[in-house]
Symmetry: C2
Subunit: 398 residues, 2 copies
Amino acid sequence: MESELKEMLIDLDTLKRSLPDSSLLASIDMMQSRVEHLTDLAKCAPARRSKVKDMSAEVVDSNPYSRLMALQRMGIVKNYERIREFSVAIVGIGGVGSVAAEMLTRCGIGRLLLYDYDKVELANMNRLFFRPEQVGMTKTDAAVQTLSDINPDVSYTLNITTLQGFETFTSSLKNKTFCPSKEGSGVDLVLSCVDNYEARMVVNQACNEMNQTWMESGVSEDAVSGHIQLLVPGETACFACAPPLVVASGVDERTLKREGVCAASLPTTMGYNALKDYFPTMEMKPNPQCSNTACLDRQKEYILAKPARDAAAAKAKKDEVLVPECPVHDDNEWNISVVDDSEPITADASSSDTLPEGLVRELPTADEFQKPCDPQEMIDSVDDLDELRKQLEALNAD
Amino acid sequence: MESELKEMLIDLDTLKRSLPDSSLLASIDMMQSRVEHLTDLAKCAPARRSKVKDMSAEVVDSNPYSRLMALQRMGIVKNYERIREFSVAIVGIGGVGSVAAEMLTRCGIGRLLLYDYDKVELANMNRLFFRPEQVGMTKTDAAVQTLSDINPDVSYTLNITTLQGFETFTSSLKNKTFCPSKEGSGVDLVLSCVDNYEARMVVNQACNEMNQTWMESGVSEDAVSGHIQLLVPGETACFACAPPLVVASGVDERTLKREGVCAASLPTTMGYNALKDYFPTMEMKPNPQCSNTACLDRQKEYILAKPARDAAAAKAKKDEVLVPECPVHDDNEWNISVVDDSEPITADASSSDTLPEGLVRELPTADEFQKPCDPQEMIDSVDDLDELRKQLEALNAD
């Protein structure tokens, strides 16, 4: 559109110069200014947010990171802004991968590497993320279009691939230009969000070879259950340690999908049995007879590194300086103190800071925010939760 | 833009008629056709998908409902298309409400009633759904802009409200123009997705008065846990039956939120403890001493209707026609049959339909899809899951 408007300006100029008399000049001038205005309108794309240099915790409506930086103030995250140093690779930008990508984008992740070979279709509209006007675009292009509008601070790398180019895939993961000082590969996490076992085995092979932590996900064909698995090479089972029967038997999974049949799917996050609202978890150790030789190599390394891990853990424990607790009253072995009962013990009930008995403020006061929270206290509350969990499980088991 | 292009066509026409000689006519004709083309381009907004009259199960890329209709073929839903008769009211279009609205929209819900008074800000970009270019729009306007692009088949009703107009709120829920034949109110479900107790108590009051089933949701201020509650007036506890202490004590919750402090939030779905990955569930009966008189009325009705419910349940059980199982061999009380061992029992291994031992096709064959699935079989599998759940809970309880 802009180029055509430019042509039009040239045409009007030519016309002006060829005019035999000057009586028509004014109307051509008016047309020229009209075209200039149209050019401005055409240029004016929907307002995009500008890049943010440093993440601020300031509580103003215009700060896209205020509610994420609040995680730091509340003691959930130690240094939120470090998220900008991290790279995540997402293999498969479908119902799972696209939402994972959007969540990481909104969190302000440093870099996303997106892998998919497919195009957006209207049939994908039953899952979150893609929009009908993106039909026909590659899923990676459509994703970057949406994501870079949401957060231009994130660095996006597109990869239109079927994973058949194994070398291309692994070399893209090894690329360290984003953060050259990083140990290991160029990414911190690989998320496998694919819909077939062949692709999962490719990701498994690459991550075993590169000693790369990854997560695997899947949704059942009836759309009401699914799974999520964390895989740390050598430490937990790899995808080949306890392969699904369809992989172990070597049958071509494509023969299991029939023409004219499609799996059901719903626009919800997955990883559990939705009909029973049940999400069991379990741990899987690696299989010493795993068919994947790279997995066996990582297992050996993990076992060899055990003494070093134990020593580091012991050192960390020793470094925890235990401050001995002082008695409240040094010269009073029963810790008895005298309270003057002529004065009320509780604070003045008329003070605006006073709450009814049993009610505590969830938010600390502004001054308290400055103090880092006590890690031991957090561990204690986790223990209480464990206790509560056991009690509730006992109740549910009836 | 279109109006300006129209003006331009008129200008060009005037110029043409005022030209002293015809040598310049050709260049003006060319400019006119250029403006006509620009008009076409300006009209061409991003391609929206057209409305769909009947939901089809046909497996083609252009069908936005194929993967939802597959739920019916797989026996998860009996009549998927009935979703078009249902209305859901969503109160609060923030981090929870907007995603609930998008999920229902993509599922093809009949009608959505959206309630919010707030505007979109950059500070909301840490949660899913809203985009930076929507900053300044009301949340309901921005939501309908996005949702009607995603699915124009859904009917949207906007309500910019603070819930202070209680009568306006209840009368909007009572409006039955969408489905006049419906019993009860004009909506099938109310989702409370608000961020304060005052609004929750308003929704509670309205739903108790109208005998309306609703769901309540909430996220903790540190963003790592939350809750979901289903409330059926008279049958389960209402929000006032076991009120949060802040409500019971009558303290003004706004005094608990301080200037310059904001709650943390993350772009994830909520309803559980994310740090412990734990999602306990419990049932709460209504409180016979509830302070809400409408709740007490619903409790009385529920108790009075018990004989009718019991009779209906007994009738439903009696109507289950139990077909007596026939023995496989009528004249053979031990059910013994003779198999000719010269022929293989299993199917021909060379057939493309044959799978390795232990492997079953998750998808039935095309013919089997026509048969409705056996409900008893589904109940049995649910029992097995209950058993598995107990076993896993016993393991987890260690």
